[in-house]
Assembly symmetry: C3
């Protein structure tokens, strides 16, 4: 059960309501009117809770769970404890996401509330039903959509636009940006600052190059805590619709990220690299500037990408190479080192 | 001498007082009543100062130091300049830490002081002798212990609890968390935000999964500047007592870190990984999710850990392997490359 | 054309004015009095704009640009579209930087402006013509030079000094530091916090070591968003004049960076490492503590540097080795893996 100090529960719902919303199918024997009061992990769920099984590492926990209901793939249903109500889904985690969001919907303000300590320029426009927290600063000419929630200490520099339904968490700083709808930005993310652009004279003096582009962020983008997204140098930096960016990620100037990309924590994408749709970047991967990464490519964690990546390719290593080749090299080196060791031992 | 603009000195102390507090032993000839006025590095210490020698790289500086006293291992004592008072310790750096903390104790407020610009919800409870800086925001139902120091712009979201004697530096944002006693959090750290949890539909739409856990932080934990610690997805994210976390570290949802771990800057630990006690992570190491890292393991800098690590093991490389094996592979590759080079040169 | 919501243009200028300021040479046929209204990228520039060609990857765009004028190397001038005015330079990007800064100069406040929500200690001194934004906090004994611009939520802890002409963006937190002139610090950077210094007792208890040094930042340094620079432990942490630091970089205690260094995003430099002048660090490189990196060295992206680096050396890999050796090893491993594959295929 989620800690009531931090979370409030919109339930209960019947099993049929949860199945219908999530697109899961009730397994024979599951009672449509069963009242489900909460979501919970396998280990701690009780008879009023619904849980899910997605990662096979947790089958043992599934077999022992005391949950009243569980979302599971059909092929694993047989391992369920006796008497548990099952919702069958080919994508249990996705169905669980919908179910859990019914119990714990994203907070959206229902009336206008502007803290007296906020500093809002008279020329800024704020949509209906926004909640503006303490010490928020909104600059000249800013436009904030409807039902936005700006937590304490958020700063929007002059001219910034934010679409409807956005949540900006405490300490987010945005400048030179146009942000879409239903975008979430977490604690301390920095968006729109100068790109790392300078030109070096023959004497070694670094002259800053004015960065004259913007950051354009599509609808339903999520941006993690303390992540940094530089504005473009002339062209814009663009984050496509639905792209999910984790904490402490660096996005350089003029980078274009397509739709639905996943960028895990501590990834760095250097300036002017163009990324297609649905590309996944593993944690700490680093991408050189001025590259093209095709749609559907998968960049393994800690990779160092120095060349263009074709659509759909999976690459690993630093410098990054196709995954098969990387694994072959890994195995080859392992084998050679062992042979060397045996020779040394024999000598 | 520490810059008086930034530091104030609680000394002087006698050599005997310093030895007694730090557990060091006065070497024969050291005068018990010698008055020590300050701590200083080997290079700049003068006759009223105490210094220390720990890293053998600095023996040359030790031989030339003008310090009045020095904490040193017995076996290096002979290299001391003539006439210098010596405190012998098997752990000179630890003894120095205690001595330096006598001269420069951590600031603890001695009376209640709440800046008029702070926004504190009427339902929040604030312990005795807290110092609450400008623009601090403390939400509904928060509990702050005794003698806490919240610097400018700290934000505690609704329900957050902070134990006695904590120091939260400027711009720290905490939500969904229960924090122990004597915890220090540095500038801009972000604690308790949503984990990176979403489920992807068949059409590629990423649905956020409500993150219903908390962050639980043990006593005497230190958390570095701009570090990010996500709250659990259902289970909690847990940081064990005495664990030291450097700057720009990412801790994913549901991670459990044991007691006394050391996590150097820019490390990333992915979701649901469980770490034992006294594990050391070198800088920029990355750890995949859902792993178990045994107590006392040592993860080298820049490692990429993709498998469980047994207790006490030292691992290196990306993907990470036992240190011995890694070094053997490094040497093998070096040798083969040289042979190839010789063959090419001969050809 | 830069978005007027975010940028204002100080032009137009004549071609001769731009050439003279930037040190570029008008190619025969270019009209001295041609009025240039703006800068723009090759792809979008129109007849009133000046653009530049530096990276040969963009020659095709150059051949098609509709710009009225372009800064270009002499050897590429022949590829220019007919009728375009050319400014010849051996360093087109540097000349462009100067030209663009004429159109879009760095904002410098021209009169004193202190927001009423700022909290400034009575003992602090603020130079002429400073602009101090909302919720800025300036502590006891701080000194701020002339024409500084402190954006919303900046915090200067007691004793901090800032030279003339500095720009500190929103949410920057500085303590224990002396900052030079014309320094820019981006959103959320954290400067002057405790270094990661502690000593571990035999029982595994980590005792924090008071960090008694400062951060000293030279003139014309740039510091990126959410970057962290720890203060010295006794000696100071020093950033040399003109050094450019990108986002999310970690600089440990006692690090000395020379003049004109370039530190790309997500680099980590561990404590007490000394770096010469004009050293370039590629993104995500990690440097062990207590090393010496010679002037002019180049550290490739993602390198893991574990040994001293001679002046001028280029190194790669983790652990890092000279670039030639690294490439030889990469090629050797590639070859051996292919041979192994062929043998397996043949078997």
């Amino acid at each position: 059960m989620a800690d009531k100090r931090f979370f409030s529960n919109s339930g209960p719902f019947t099993l049929a309501e949860l199945a219908s919303a999530s697109g899961a199918r009730l397994k024979d024997g599951a009672q449509h009117t069963l009242s489900i009061k909460d979501v919970a992990p396998l280990e701690t769920a009780g008879s009023g809770d619904i849980t899910f099984l997605d990662n096979v590492k947790y089958v043992a926990a599934f077999e022992k769970t005391k949950a009243g209901a569980c979302i599971v793939r059909e092929k694993l249903a047989a391992k369920a404890p006796a008497g548990m109500a099952l919702l069958l889904s080919e994508n249990p985690y996705h169905a669980y996401a919908i179910v859990a969001s019914m119990f714990y919907p994203v907070y959206q303000p229902q009336e206008t509330s502007i803290h007296p300590s906020a500093t809002i320029h008279e020329s800024a426009s704020i949509g209906e039903k926004c909640e503006i927290g303490p010490n928020v600063v909104i600059g000249q000419g800013c436009k904030v959509g409807r039902q936005c929630h700006l937590h304490a200490g958020v700063t929007l520099s002059d001219g910034v636009e934010i679409g409807d339904g956005c949540t900006l968490h405490a300490g987010v700083h945005i400048s030179h940006a146009v942000v879409g709808r239903r975008v979430t930005v977490h604690h301390g993310a920095a968006i729109g600052q100068d790109g790392f652009g300078f030109a070096t004279s023959a004497e070694g003096r670094h002259e800053r190059v004015p960065q004259l582009g913007r950051v354009i962020i599509g609808d339903e983008v999520n941006i993690g805590a303390n992540t940094t997204i530089d504005r473009g140098s002339g062209p814009d930096t663009i984050i496509g619709e639905g792209t999910q960016i984790d904490n402490l990620v660096q996005i350089g100037h003029n980078v274009v990220l397509g739709r639905g990309c996943i960028v895990v924590s501590q990834v760095g994408i250097s300036g002017s690299t163009k990324v297609g749709d649905f590309v996944a970047f593993g944690g700490q991967a680093g991408i050189t500037g001025h590259l093209t990464i095709g749609s559907g490519a998968r960049i393994a964690a800690q990779s160092g990408v120095m060349r263009d990546v074709p659509p759909g390719e999976t690459i690993c290593g630093s410098p990054a190479i196709p995954a098969k080749q990387f694994h072959r090299q890994t195995v080859t080196l392992q084998k050679l080192a062992k042979e060397g060791q045996r020779n040394d031992d024999a000598a």
